[in-house]
Symmetry: C2
Subunit: 664 residues, 2 copies
């Protein structure tokens, strides 16, 4: 027989992922979580539903106690409430509901009295409910005394006086404060929520290879890289992300353009981690020492730049792990080590761990210690290489382990993989994810994809970090479109999502590829490449301007507030962002055509902006700092290859003549 | 650390309700269940997914063993398979998946060979995989021998010969037949499915009060009721449903039009069950004996009519239970019994059980014994009175208890309640549900609601039984629209859902109501009402015709095959039905206007019908048995108050001149 725990149904709880209770929805500390649920039972009782929540981790910063707030009925058996995320880390919420016995009784009493029925025995019943509530209140408390006095009023005096006492305003509220929750129903799961720091959502990333910052053809050091920080700061970025900074293996080392090296001077790929000089917890000797890294990091932080490192959980065949822990790797029947491959591609310089092999416990513990090591060095953001080639259970475990102690640590998944695996990694706990934005270049495909990313169920757990280029991807659009293409893709990435990034070279519009591929020609992955900061073909000022606008407009710092609007030109994308309270409304139009000027009529979303059809309003175009007065539902604008993007801050004229006292 | 059970994700499994594993989706025995799921893991392995299912209950008719079928990849990590429901009752299905080691190896080998790589050590690896597969096959079996021979072919001979042996067609299939499932991932739930008999979906119900079948003003008996069976058979119904047939209490008895009775001759409401003569397992003495009931039931079955009874789990104050089991009821503090009420309505003749009270175990057992009692008398269909006033856990328990032993038993929920409770009762296990169809009379509201009922997620577990009238509901539309209104509502109910019903009097268009209410004037619920079969205002022939068409067209016997189409007139509903294999295509147009003739242009769904734009086809209108040739995407038709509904059976001309051999 079913458990005697009441018969209330609590279902259709939102937000919740998959209904398994395993994966957290993601929010930012300081935000509130709005929770809704269907709550109902048989019959006609008035129900009370409460939202309960608690901060679960880190253990050190939580007392684990549940807080509680009443849920408001929205009609049709739906209830809503919200709770604040005042700490970083993991929360859980659930819902409890019970019948409000006294309020139900009052409601029936009112209707019976109105229908002229005798309510003698009902009054006895109501009095008993008040006595029970009094017993649940603190003995001798004012509330208990008031409840007992009301009980007497129901039992004594005329029926009319008793009914009046029962219906007295406030009595239901008082009695409901001491409910009988013996048979309350609790939702079957505690729903996890993760509260990240704001940087998990808002940040402009700049990726560069520190070894390319040297002068006179020599490999750069952290000290060299430090000299470029003022430049990166001037571009307006928030995060500098470094590819792996560890010793590079010799075995199978790659030379320029990914050929197997024959030249002892070749530097190899930074992702071929590990040599006699050390592994994932060491720094490549040519870059400097751990102290040099710390100095670089502090210098960056002094300029408002946070340093993100690469987590590439793989080894060069020379990695010390292979000698010390052969049990962590896969060996062929002939005794040779399996190298990484995705045929016909081979990575002779890379060996994968056997993540689910017999030695997984010690392997996972070691990999966790790598993350903790760099956390110890002050790193809080990790870009994770190829997470989709490692098992999901590992990521679920690792991210949980790390964040339960260090809730300000973020993981960006380089999840260039199949759609469902990309989402599964986000559910598994990755803070952010790379996306297919890199290849979406036409209007409808951008719009459809960004709606899916920012407004669908996916937006509860996955945050797209948009990259126009990476060391692995120089897209056709950038190869073919010249400087305007670089402006367009930057403007899109920087305004469609609060998180975006570029790989250095983008700002001087590096577009030379190995023919018929997306690979950079003479890629920095395998050789030194001098920086071309002073290149005449650069869009540095454009980059600075956009990053400055991002910092000055809170709407651009939020993820789920993107809305697309109508424009009558298939080469022009038109969208808007505003804050949840309606402030800082922005309209953005970006031409997708790097070759020609585009005229477009925009359909102004007057309703979303709270503007009347006849109202004149000011738009402040932020890219060129121009102002105009617009009115009505249409605006015609021109976008050129030189200025493909317009960002209008919309300002109402708050005061009109009839706002003044003397108007009339 | 996570369980070492593999790292495959199995999610987005369909069909499944709520992701709790508690509630069954509903199907009909003989149907197949098509299952889809996302199945993927890290990396590039080729995965095998299998659907597993078993018949769970009744225990007597199942061996509980799992069957298994491979799932087919649909692309984008989605897999599909189906399984047959060959028995009545409860099934469960789940999914298991694993990496196909040998096939993955072959796929990589092919690409390495194509890229010109040496595959010496790969061949050793492949040979080991074949040996392991051989060890899993029966020793000395032909398969084991073939696998060991292939192993030798990979290890001996030239690399070219070894590769050719590895790629030999059929070897992958053979090796995959003996997979290593040690680390297979199993879906976290066994998803329940319930297979009903066909009558659970297809049936026309006829409700009548047996006591109204008497002659000369005397209450009717089962013997009297029996004489009307030929008439009901002639109307074409499948089920006769009788309101409660038990002894009626004296206390608080109701007289005509629901006033408290002052006349000792008043008969009372059949829902006030229980008196000195007995309770829920007894028959009202005025109707006859248990033997008379059995005779009536057999006579009905002889005419193809199944008898459905009312399950009203409530008591008159005179019910023997109250004396024998006071612990099953709620008592007021003053010692009086609580009667049923929904203020300002009071039911002085009815007392509710205390379903969740301290004596619930014995109460639930007794209520179950009532159902089993009538099952023992051969009843298999129960219409359940007001299920939404009883706790859901009770229904979940009761229906499961009954159906696990008697899988052919159906429960129709009289769930005229809030939308979410109506759905919750269906999830709880009710076979069918009353719906809001009774009040949906205009085009858009009918269309929206029927789409929700038959095509949304609700259709997986709820089957709407459409009733134009009930003893409690004589709708405004019927009160005001005359005979045409009765034709319209009947045609809609009988063609929108395979399950529908009318309450007797409908066919002679009884439309007299208590003013400003939906209550019948002089309702049979409280007094005798002579039948008016011979009334000149009757639509009996219309009812017969529609039921005959329902029996002759399988499309009208299915629930989820309803599709709405465009018609250019807001007073005309246009829809179609066909079988899953495309056979028996019907087009149906119903005028919703009981007062005037309506002209309408129908947009013929040529695509759905598999018709070419230029193709001429025959339509056979079944209501008036007329035929016509139509062609192209539009048809103009006229619907009148006398003939408001048209049902066209669509026939292609299967053969044309170029079907003949001598055409050319």
């Amino acid at each position: 027989m079913a458990e005697p725990t009441g018969s209330i149904v609590i279902e259709a709880v939102e937000p919740e992922l998959d209904g398994t209770g395993r994966f957290a929805i993601k929010r930012i500390v300081g935000e509130s979580v709005v929770v809704q649920a269907d709550v109902f039972k048989e019959g006609h009782d008035i129900l009370v539903a409460v939202l309960q929540w608690r901060h679960v981790a880190p253990a050190a910063s939580t007392d684990g106690k549940w807080s509680e707030a009443p849920m408001q009925p929205l009609g049709n058996d739906r209830f809503s409430a919200e709770f604040p995320l005042s700490h970083l880390g993991r929360y859980a919420y659930t819902i409890e509901a019970w019948s409000d016995a006294f309020r139900t009784w009052v409601s029936e009493l009112e209707r019976k009295v109105a229908a002229g029925h005798s309510v003698r025995s009902e009054l006895v019943e109501g009095a008993a409910l008040l006595r029970q509530a009094a017993l649940r209140a603190s003995a001798q408390s004012p509330d208990a005394k008031r409840l007992l006095a009301a009980e007497q009023a129901l039992l004594a005096g005329t029926p009319e006086a008793a009914v009046a006492a029962a219906l007295e305003p406030g009595l239901s509220d008082l009695a409901s404060r001491y409910p009988d929750r013996t048979h309350a129903t609790r939702y079957l799961r505690e729903v996890p929520v993760y509260a990240d720091r704001p940087r998990a959502v808002f940040g402009a990333w700049y990726e560069f290879f520190p070894r390319s910052t040297g002068t006179d053809g020599k490999p750069g050091t952290f000290a060299d890289a430090e000299t470029l920080l003022p430049y990166i700061e001037s571009l307006g970025f928030d995060i500098v992300y470094l590819p792996p900074i560890h010793p590079i293996g010799r075995a199978g080392r790659k030379g320029p353009n990914n050929v197997v090296s024959t030249n002892p001077d070749d530097l190899g790929s930074p992702w071929a981690i590990g040599s006699r000089e050390g592994g994932h917890k060491s720094i490549h000797p040519a870059l400097g020492t751990m102290k040099d890294f710390a100095h670089f990091k502090e210098a960056a932080e002094g300029r408002g730049l946070e340093v993100a490192l690469d987590l590439a959980f793989q080894c060069s065949p020379d990695h010390p792990y292979i000698r010390e822990h052969p049990e962590w790797f896969s060996w062929r029947p002939d005794g040779t080590l399996k190298t990484a491959e995705n045929p016909p591609k081979r990575y002779d310089d890379i060996v994968n761990f056997d993540f689910l092999g017999p030695a997984r416990e010690s392997l996972w513990a070691e990999l966790k210690s790598i993350v903790l090591f760099w956390i110890g060095e002050g790193v809080r953001i990790f870009r994770v290489d190829n997470p989709h080639t490692k098992p999901l259970p590992f990521w679920i475990w690792l991210i949980r382990q790390i964040q339960d102690a260090h809730p300000d640590v973020s993981f960006l998944a380089e999840a260039f993989t199949r759609p469902k695996m990309m989402k599964a990694l986000a559910k598994a706990g990755f803070t952010q994810s790379y996306t297919y934005f890199t290849w979406r270049v036409f209007k409808q495909e951008i719009q459809d994809y960004l709606v899916e990313l920012t407004q669908g169920p996916v937006a509860e757990y996955m945050r797209g970090n948009l990259w126009p280029n990476t060391p692995d991807i120089l897209s056709d659009f950038l190869q073919q479109g010249g400087l305007p293409a670089f402006r367009i893709r930057l403007a899109l990435a920087a305004t469609l999502s609060p998180s975006y990034g570029i790989y250095s070279g983008y700002e001087w519009c590096e577009a030379r590829a190995i023919p018929q591929t997306e690979e950079y020609l003479d890629s920095e992955k395998y050789q030194l490449r001098p920086w071309e900061i002073g290149s005449p073909d650069n869009i540095s000022a454009y980059v600075s301007r956009i990053n400055q606008i991002r910092r000055g407009n809170r709407s651009l710092q939020l993820y789920r507030n993107l809305r697309f609007y109508q424009a009558d030109n298939d080469q022009v994308l038109f969208y808007g962002k505003k804050c949840p309270d309606g402030s800082n409304p922005l309209l953005i139009a970006v031409s997708l055509d790097p070759f020609s000027t585009q005229e477009v009529v925009l359909q102004i979303p007057l309703g979303d902006l709270g503007l009347g059809a006849e109202e004149t309003f000011q738009v402040h175009e932020l890219m060129k700092d121009g102002r105009a007065l617009w009115r009505g539902p249409r605006a015609q604008v021109t976008l050129t290859p030189e200025n493909p993007a317009a960002i209008w801050s919309v300002h109402r004229f708050a005061r009109r003549e009839n706002s003044f006292d003397y108007f009339d």
